[in-house]
Assembly symmetry: C2
Homo-oligomer: 261 residues x 2
């Protein structure tokens, strides 16, 4: 068996409503978790407005830099849904009515007792050489062009389209992680934590501080491809916390999410 | 009184934990809402990993393109907190121990009965010409360099630092918005909605579809600087929905947030 390589991805969240704060994006977290299960790491995410040249620029930047790009949003039938147009332009492809998507849409429109109009067929538009991401949830499929996967913004629909994208994706190194928390303040442990990181360059050791119950503490996440190395480093961290007078909490200290609205 | 101009901003969310899906960012939404109150529109957001050249590139891109840049995350005392270093490099400034921040930190360390160490003073590091974002919540302040505001990732701390940033910010055109929802499917209203948008180029009319109670519908958001124009367009949209057999819902149809975890 050959060694699995690191596979990278970018997430492109398209929509004014995310930038204005009206809508709280939940797709990035979903993609981060699900892609990691496949051994694919998101290395950059961008949120861009519904503006053609911004979307084109972001698609072209991300598709050249990362193995995969996942876009969410902007593929509905209204005037502000311009993702398909932008992806076609980014690839220099014509925008067409994809025959299979159009057939699916027509059948659905008729089944719902509606008239087939150009507006209703708008969701069948894809770049010329797109492949569809057909799924059970949405009547109008998402699509992929080369390494760019174009999905809806509605989380339930996006998730179904992502399911259709999975068979296209190459598997890489799955990162596994272990979390240890304690009420030792970051400033107290920082120097020795840094030395631990130096000893384990194959791991990514993150420190996520919190204030909870009026006390400062931190959750430490050890992340890497090899279980043995994580266990070894975890044991050292465990002992380090004890030596600093702390009580290590396996799995991390549970801190309630801060509500901002 | 001169006409207020449009002021733009970028948000730069720094941290591996957001990209891996471990942590769900809540700062972007907060910034979007609060900046809009000041008449400042976020036009792009980026989530970048804890990697020096990625952060430097993003800071430099955003600070040249937008009026303001707000970064969150990576200013703690541990080895993975490299935002101050990166911002200094982005501006070509030396990284120093800011005298005021260091004084504040030293007093706090001593008050807590701890020893003053280099690691504990790490949070006093800023670029040479930074101004501090002093606040009640965090012992170690955030800082600004020119148009870049550097804040913590912990939401409560970020919000306090943002409060300290507000006096530095120029006010622009405040965008106001009105939301009207209905169970009219997007495909049914799309053509006429597009004509409405054409008639009101000064407004940004967005359509945010949902499936709720087994029925498709959409919330339409009209956004712009002038109340009169929004009211006028809203009335036309209201009548349009009725003409299509729908029932307009002022404020929009409340759809529960889709949980993804």
């Amino acid at each position: 068996m050959g060694e699995a390589r690191r596979i990278t991805a970018a997430a492109l969240i398209i929509g004014n409503e995310i930038l204005s704060g009206r809508t709280h994006d939940v797709n990035l977290k979903y993609l981060g978790v699900e892609l990691n299960k496949l051994g694919i790491q998101i290395r950059e995410a961008r949120v861009v407005p519904d503006i053609e040249n911004e979307i084109i620029e972001a698609v072209n930047h991300c598709r050249s830099k990362f193995d995969y790009v996942f876009t969410t949003g902007g593929i509905g039938p209204t005037h502000d849904d311009i993702t398909a147009d932008c992806v076609a332009k980014a690839f220099g492809q014509k925008l067409i009515h994809h025959p299979v998507a159009e057939k699916m849409l027509r059948e659905r429109i008729i089944k719902m007792g509606n008239e087939v109009t150009e507006a209703r067929l708008r969701m069948a538009r894809t770049p010329e050489f797109a492949e569809l991401l057909i799924n059970e949830v949405s009547g109008a499929p998402g699509f992929k062009v080369e390494n760019v996967f174009v999905m809806a913004g509605i989380p339930r629909v996006m998730q179904a389209m992502f399911g259709a994208a999975v068979p296209f994706l190459e598997r890489g190194v799955t990162m596994i992680s272990n979390t240890i928390g304690s009420y030792v303040a970051e400033g107290t442990i920082a120097t020795q934590l840094s030395l631990l990181q130096d000893d384990y360059p194959d791991l990514d050791i993150g420190s996520y501080p919190f204030y909870f119950d009026g006390r400062p503490g931190s959750n430490f996440v050890l992340r890497g491809p090899e279980q043995d190395r994580i266990l070894e480093a975890s044991e050292r961290l465990y002992n380090l916390i004890i030596s600093l007078g702390g009580k290590p909490v396996e799995g991390g200290v549970e801190v309630p999410t801060t509500k901002t609205d």
